[in-house]
């Protein structure tokens, strides 16, 4: 049996060792640049979702998760599941800047023979804990991981990133039910509530402005999660102070309650770049040279190197 119950050799505490002097805003700017630029160079890929979750993933990997990029398979590491797998380039950009693989490798995204597949592949990419892509499956995998950790006496925590559009998949709610039923307080789900999806919905007021917004009109997501027995935290997903306060509260919940926690993070699809911000039309897309120049200026990339970002 290959179940490691030893907690004697956990990975270094990223929050303690990596926090000091790290400018998360700066890292997030570079992550956003890599998202837009990599997809532009690969000529295919998602933009809006990776950009909306960027601050949350940067916060996780540079301050919160107990991980070691040099030991991506360490048994005691915290787990992260990108259930909204189409936002892979956002996670790859963070993993590269965090040191899991060279930043230059991002250029292979979506190419043949690449470790960086269009959707995350746990068998190929260092730092990917679960393969995802078909929406709605990540939370079930995370429930299994968190349950297994408890059965094996492991103390690590399990994190999942879902999209608000993804919550339309019924399998998510099967897992929401199991997570509270199994009292998996070590499980924290973050929902990237960017309010848009690939095509989206007609306006509920009948006056269609063709913004295709509000995936969950008529639905109180916080009340639903509470009804299922979860702790619910609602924050601005682009405010690092709010993000860390939420992470701290989720940590406290993990210790002091028997309930899993969901962070409903209000975000803006395409956040950080003027022409991608707030529109479903940049769910995916390939930026032109002119648009890349605009984004580069807006993200203040000129004169900075990736190394300095991380």
């Amino acid at each position: 049996m290959d179940i490691d119950v030893s907690l004697s050799d956990p990975p270094s505490d990223a929050r303690a060792s990596g926090a000091a002097g790290v400018d998360l805003h700066r890292i997030a700017r570079h992550v956003r640049w890599h998202i837009l630029n990599t997809v532009a160079q690969s000529k295919a890929g998602h933009i809006g979702g990776p950009l909306s979750m960027a601050d949350l993933v940067v916060a996780l990997y540079f301050r919160e998760l107990n991980i070691d990029p040099h030991r991506p398979d360490a048994p005691g590491r915290d787990r992260f599941v990108l259930s909204k797998g189409h936002s892979a380039i956002g996670l790859y950009s963070v993993l590269a800047l965090r040191g899991y693989f060279p930043v230059a490798e991002l250029a292979t995204f979506d190419h043949g023979d690449s470790r960086l597949q269009g959707h995350p592949d746990m068998r190929l990419t260092p730092g990917i804990d679960v393969s995802t892509g078909s929406l709605g499956q990540g939370l079930s995998a995370a429930v299994g991981i968190a349950l297994g950790a408890r059965m094996a006496g492991q103390a690590f925590r399990t994190w999942v990133m879902l999209g608000d559009g993804e919550l339309q998949e019924g399998m998510v709610w099967e897992a929401v039910n199991s997570a509270s039923r199994f009292e998996l307080s070590s499980l924290t789900a973050i929902v990237d509530v960017n309010g848009l999806q690939q095509f989206g919905w007609p306006a509920v007021d009948g006056r269609d402005r063709f913004d295709r917004s509000e995936p969950w009109a008529h639905v109180d997501l916080a009340a639903i999660f509470r009804g299922y027995g979860w702790n619910v935290i609602e924050i601005d997903g682009h405010d690092f102070a709010a993000i860390f306060a939420a992470f701290d509260e989720a940590g406290e919940n993990a210790r002091a309650t028997t309930r899993p926690t969901v962070i409903l993070a209000g975000t803006i699809k395409g956040q950080g770049i003027s022409f991608t911000r707030g529109t479903y039309t940049w769910h995916n897309g390939v930026a032109s040279e002119e648009q890349l120049a605009t984004a580069r200026a807006e993200l203040m990339i000129e004169g900075e190197t990736d190394e300095s970002a991380a």
Binding site: M1, D2, I3, D4, D121, M122, R123, D129, V130, S131, T132, G133, S134, G136, Q137, G138, L139, S140, A141, A142, V143, G144, I145, A146, L147, G148, A149, M151, A152, Q154, G170, M171, E174, A175, N177, S178, R181
Partner: protein, 327 residues
């Protein structure tokens, strides 16, 4: 006679005694699939997910990433249809150590009818890379396969029957992955079957023998990966090959056999018996087997008819002779 589900339930519970990595994930059917024995013996390693098959698969996958070796137990139809997407992405594409026990497979599921019959499972599961697909013949082989699958690294689907069949394998039988098992050695008319249908095909061969037709019976417990050499060896000298399965004739055992034989110009003609691209219905086992051509009697009839057609074809064309079979 012992039903395969009983054997599976007992065997998994027995393995659980010595292998603490075995966990069992149930979808509210443990008292049907017989996973309830494991539940009673090892409550800490029995995970009740409720009526949520996709979630079952996701949870089992998650457990497997920590070194656990989960068995999943529910009706075959809910695994291979309802939960196919998570099986595909989380289990097959990652090569996860997840064992899928498809109970109540095939036509015979206690009169539940077409909604609960799984007659496409072999076609669906064998289409996926990394997936091992097994269909044991009787109680002896069900136990052997359950033990083998528990030790195997990688995803396995095991077709488990609800109701008992006549035992066709000896108690000291050893399961070998991919290998064809010859149950009746005589004849150049070769009946190839899988799962519990193999037991009924042996009975059919006995009926044929009584009528003066010698038929060989080859059982394929492994639908994937097929050991091509072993299959060809078992078919040596065959002039007519008839596949019989409690499954659609599309893409299952017959399909797999034809894919192999298509590589060989001197292959014998193949007739595929099974569900003929149609949905079935509710009814007692005997009724369904008779109506859909899978009872020993009906298989024997269809074989006789196929032999007559085959011999007429040889007589009229002269092109195909019995000597042109696989050598």
């Amino acid at each position: 006679m012992k039903a395969q589900r009983d054997v599976w339930g007992d065997t998994v519970a027995e393995i659980g005694l010595t292998d603490p990595s075995i966990v069992l994930v149930d979808g509210d059917l443990a008292n049907s699939t017989k996973a309830d024995r494991f539940a009673r013996e090892f409550p800490d390693r029995f995970i009740e997910v409720g009526i949520a098959e996709q979630n079952m698969v996701g949870i089992a996958f998650g457990l497997s990433t920590l070194g656990y070796r989960p068995w999943l137990s529910t009706f075959a139809v809910f695994l291979t249809h309802r939960a196919l997407d998570p099986i595909r992405m989380l289990v097959s594409q990652t090569g996860a150590n997840v064992r899928l026990a498809g109970a109540y497979s095939g036509l015979l599921n206690g009169s539940s009818g077409k909604t609960h019959q799984d007659v496409e499972d072999l076609a669906i599961m064998r289409a996926m890379p990394n997936m091992t697909v097994l269909a044991p013949a009787d109680e002896v082989e069900a136990a052997a396969v359950t033990r083998w699958a528990s030790d195997h690294e990688g995803p396995v689907y095991v077709r488990i029957a609800r109701d008992a069949v006549r035992q066709v394998l000896p108690h000291d039988y050893t399961f070998r992955l991919g290998e064809a098992v010859t149950l009746r050695a005589d004849g150049d008319i070769v009946l190839v079957s899988t799962g519990v249908q193999s037991s009924r095909v042996v009975e059919a061969a006995d009926l044929l023998a009584a009528a003066g037709i010698r038929a060989r019976v080859v059982h394929l417990p492994t639908i994937k990966p097929l050991n091509e050499a072993s299959l060809l060896d078992s078919l040596k000298g065959a002039s007519l090959l008839i596949t019989v399965e409690e499954h659609t004739v599309i893409g299952g055992l017959g399909g797999a056999v034809c894919e192999v034989l298509g590589n060989y110009p001197t292959s014998p003609r193949v007739v595929r018996l099974g569900l003929d691209d149609q949905w079935s219905e509710s009814g007692p086992d005997d009724f369904l087997l008779d109506k859909y051509g899978l009872s020993a009697q009906r298989v024997a009839e269809q074989v006789r008819s196929a032999v007559t057609t085959h011999e007429a074809a040889i007589a009229s064309s002269g092109a195909a002779t019995r000597e042109e079979g696989i050598r």
